[in-house]
């Protein structure tokens, strides 16, 4: 598929498809129409490594004892901004990510908009919509 220039690509990781789809819809309403929802850690790692991504929204606990942190490490190494969306709170997040923004689940469209806005502003790398 040809990528439309200037439209930010977003990696969205959430092991619960229903919740992920809800976030996807919120992002679409905010104008970020190119969100890719991934539900499995293995796929998320692959996407983080090889896809063009402007920023990422990461669910922390992916079920079955898997956590999203390897994906976050890859994104950090690629200087791609990301935020954590979690229902578990801040204490489950390793220290190396302590300065990353965290969005507490469940969140409203407004909270997501504010968090994503901050993320884009803080990192000029992430393309504005």
């Amino acid at each position: 598929m040809k990528r439309a220039a200037g439209i930010p690509e977003i990696l969205l990781v959430d092991d619960e498809p229903l919740v992920g789809m809800l976030t996807e819809d919120m992002l679409t309403d905010l104008g970020y129409v190119r969100a890719k929802l991934v539900t499995r850690l293995a796929d998320a790692r692959k996407a983080a490594m090889f896809e063009t991504i402007n920023f990422a929204v990461l669910d922390v606990n992916l079920g079955a004892g898997e956590f999203v942190f390897p994906v976050a490490d890859i994104l950090a190494a690629r200087h791609i901004p990301f935020l954590f969306a979690t229902g578990c709170g801040r204490r489950d997040i390793p220290r190396r990510f302590r300065d990353r923004p965290i969005l507490e689940k469940p969140f409203s469209a407004g909270e997501l908009a504010a968090a994503v806005g901050d993320l884009v502003r803080r990192t000029p790398n992430a393309m504005a919509r």
């Binding site: 092991d15 498809p17 229903l18 992920g20 789809m21 929802l37 539900t39 499995r40 293995a42 079920g63």
Partner: protein
Amino acid sequence: MAKLDAGPLRDENSAEFMPTTGQAGETVQTAPSNPSIWPLLITKEAPPTPGVFAFRVSVLVLALATATALRAAFGALVPGVPFAFYYPAILAVALLCGWQFGALALLFALALSWFMFVPAAFDFAAPTAAQWISLAAMAGVGLCLVAVTEALRTALARAQASEARYRELLGATSGIVFLTSPSGHVSTPQHGWSEVTGMVWPEYGSLGWLKAVHSDDQAILKGERPPRAHQADLRIWSKDDNNWRWFHMRAVPLTNARAELTGWMSALSDVHERRMARERQEMMLGEQRHRLKNLITVIDSLATWSNPRNDPAVDAYLKKFLGRLRALGGVGDQIVAAEWKELETGAVVRNALAPFLEENSARIRISGPRLMLSEQTAGSLALGIHEMATNALKYGALASKDGKIFVEWSRTPRAGDEDIAFEWREQDGPPVAPPDREGFGLRLIRFVPAREKDGKVQIEYRPAGFYCRISWTAVASG
């Protein structure tokens, strides 16, 4: 810092290993606690302690003196073997004191024979040819005796060391090692049994040990067991806890050369804490599921009660919402009922289709092998099926009189894994066309195998009707 720490550690190690390396050349390492007398006699430590040395010299002197006395008293008993009395003496010395003393005994025996019994007696006179041959034969046979005895001693020492190591190993295992006859009878004290159960030998001899095994777990141990390795969890009375404790048993059949069962060797390890933790966890998980199930019921009633009456738009919305909620909640009910965290596909499909089967049971054909699904995939599948059935009722096979739906799934083994394919095929319904925009229902369907390996969803609007194939790879299970 690291360097400072490593220094003394290395010194400690080398100091600890020093005596061992000093004796590396010796084949025999005896366990100090071993009650057998053999280690005292065959230990090859060099040099032997004064006590051992004195013992060996005494054996040498005693054996030679006895042989000489017997030869003097009885003469050459065996014709043609004039010095036969010395052979047992050399054998005894070589066996008890090692080959060095055996060789010494042979030399002394030769000298004594020559001096005392080769005419002229009490004189090292030059022997005749026949006497030469006698002495040479004695030297040859004596050397063979010493050599064979030494080989025997080495073999004994090896067996001894091997047994000592086996005992040390047994002592190092924390659990119980249990040896029984094929029928479960115990005839010797067993490692670890007294420590755990407080039973004293021979209290647990014969079948007495079964008293310390929980009555519910005795069935696995009683009666004929097929002679192959097996394992089981069982409860054993713990004297420290004054209660039952869970042990994991691994039993291996012991067989003789004719492959007949001669007994059972069982290793029992304490898994009590682990098992208790798992049970607590499962109980909590069950509790959570119950709460979730109740929560869904509460949401269902809240939604129903909050409905302002006679508003068709809200009615339609509520119907859609409750349909989906109940499809998901049905899986929750099944999970609570199921003992394991997996669900059978047939049950999931029938449960999700229950509202539709009432009126269309003859038009929906469900078939497929027994296939277990994870809780998550079962939930997604139930939702997906609900969406497809709802669509079929509105636009598809269930919207016409003759329409049929085939719901089929299959398992295909492939390189240790299994290819799972789930198909939904509609037939003889009104013509279908792809929607302009993919709605929520279709998106739900696309995420059914989201948590499975290689999950794929294929949706086709065929002339015969709507078709959907959901496939993924599963690790094969029984």
